[in-house]
C-alpha cells in the first residue's frame, strides 16, 4: 500500500504528506520502532506537513531531527504546519 506520509527522524513532531490528504484521514507513519497514527483535522496537500502531536506556542517544530522553526500559535495534532503557524529562526533582521 502506498504510504500517505513520511516520518524522517524519530525526534520529529511533524510528518510530510506523500499525497493530497483530506481532513478526517487517519494517517500512520512509522520509523525505527516508533509508530504514530494521526487523525487529520485539515486537508494537507502533497509535500506539506502536519503535526503528529500537540506543539505548544514558541515550541520547536522538529523535522530531520532538528528544529526547522518555532510555533507562532498552539498547534494541535493533525493540523497543517506551515508559514501561518510557524516561523524560521534564521535571517530575521526584523526581530
Amino acid at each position: 500500500m502506498k504510504p500517505k506520509a513520511i516520518l524522517i527522524d524519530t525526534k520529529d513532531n511533524v510528518a510530510t504528506a506523500f499525497q493530497d490528504l483530506k481532513a478526517g484521514d487517519k494517517v500512520t507513519v512509522a520509523l525505527g520502532g516508533k509508530q504514530v497514527t494521526t487523525a487529520l483535522v485539515q486537508d494537507i496537500p502533497f509535500g506539506h506537513k502536519f503535526a503528529l502531536a500537540d506543539i505548544a506556542l514558541h515550541a520547536p517544530v522538529m523535522k530531520y531531527g532538528a528544529s526547522i522553526g518555532l510555533a507562532t500559535a498552539a498547534i494541535k495534532a493533525g493540523q497543517h504546519v506551515h508559514v501561518h503557524n510557524m516561523e524560521s529562526q534564521k535571517g530575521r533582521g526584523d526581530k
Binding site: 523535522k63 510557524m86 524560521s88 535571517g91
Partner: protein
Amino acid sequence: MEFQGYRRKTGRVGIRNHVLVFPTVVCSSEVARMISEKVPGTVYARHGGGCGHVGEDKEQVIRTMLGICGHGNVASVLLVANGCEVITPDVLTPELDKIGQPYAVVSVQEDGGTPGCVEKGVKLATKMVADAAKLKKEAIPVSELMVGLECGGSDAFSGLTANPSLGVMADKLVALGGTAIFSETTEMLGCENVLAQRAADDKVSKDIYRVIADAETTAMSGGVDIRGTQPAPGNIKGGLSSIEEKSLGCIRKGGSSKIVQVVKYGERPVKKGLVIMDATAADVMNNTGLLAAGCQLIVFTTGRGTPVGANIAPVIKVSTNSVLYKKMTPNIDVNAGVIVDGEGTLESVGQQVFDRVMATANGELTKAEALGHREFDIHFRMIV
C-alpha cells in the same frame, strides 16, 4: 567488514586501477585526449585550468590536481604538459615523488609538438597500463573507504526519500569507521546552528560558521538576494516552511553523525567520520573536489535526472522518485522512489544504497561507469 581493493605505495586505497592521462593545462588537453584514445585502459581528464591562476585559486587548483593525480584509484599518471603554463609538471612532481605516486611526463613544446608528444605519450601510457595490470587486489577494511555525497537536479522528493536514505548509508559507514563527505556550502545556509551542534569540537564548530558565512558573503557579492526570499514562493507552495527545513533536506544526505572536520575544496581530511567540504554546488566541479579529497566513490541523488559520472571513480546514482526511475532507468542504480510507492522504507533503501556502495567498492560497475560517463572539471574562481 572488508572489500577487495588496491593498497598503493602511497598508502592510499583504491577501488579502481586507472592509468590517468592528465593535461597540466587546457592548452595540452587535446594532446592528452589523443594519447588516451590510442591507449585502451587509460582515462583522461579534460579541464579548463592550469594557467592564469593566482593566490588562493592557484593553491586550490594545485591541491585539486595533486589529489586527482595521487588518488587511490589511480595506479599511475601521465602528465601532459604544454610547457609554458603556470602549473607545469615541475609544480606537481615534487609532491608526487614525496607520496610515492608513479608518474611520467611528456611535453608538447619539448617532445616534437603534437605528433611527437602523442607518440611518446602513447609509448609511456602503454607501459603504464601493462604495469598497472600486474597489481593485485587485497582485503581492505571498510574503515578505509571514503564516500562523497552529492545531490543534483533536486526535486520535492529529494529531502524526503533519496537524501535521508543516503543519510542512513552514511551513518552505517561512519559507524564502521569509514568516512563520508558532504559539501555544497550554499545549501547549508540556515542550518548553521544545527550543524554546529553536531561539531566534534570547538574548532569544527567555528569552521562551520565561518564557511557558511563566507558562502553567504560570496553569493551576496553577486548582487543577488539569496536569503531574503528563502524559501522561494514556489518552495512555500510546495510545503517548505523555512530555510532551515530546505537546507536540512539537503544535508540529511550526511546522516546524523558528529562532524569531525571541515576541509577546503579538494583538501584531504585527516580525520575519519563525517566531514564537510566547503565547495561549490555545481555538480561536476563538486564531484572533482570530493575525489581530490580522496573519495573513492560518490553517491549522487537526483530528482530531475542527471547522467554525470566521473573519470577516475564510480558514481552511484539514486533517484528520488519512480517517475524519473522509469524515464532514466539506464542511468539510475538505486530508486529511492519505492519509499513513496510503499515498496521500501528509509531503512531498506538506505541498506540497499550501502550494499551498492560495498558491491561497487568490490569492483561492480555503476551505470555511469558502464555507460562511459567520465565528467571532470576543476573549480576555480578566476583567470587573470
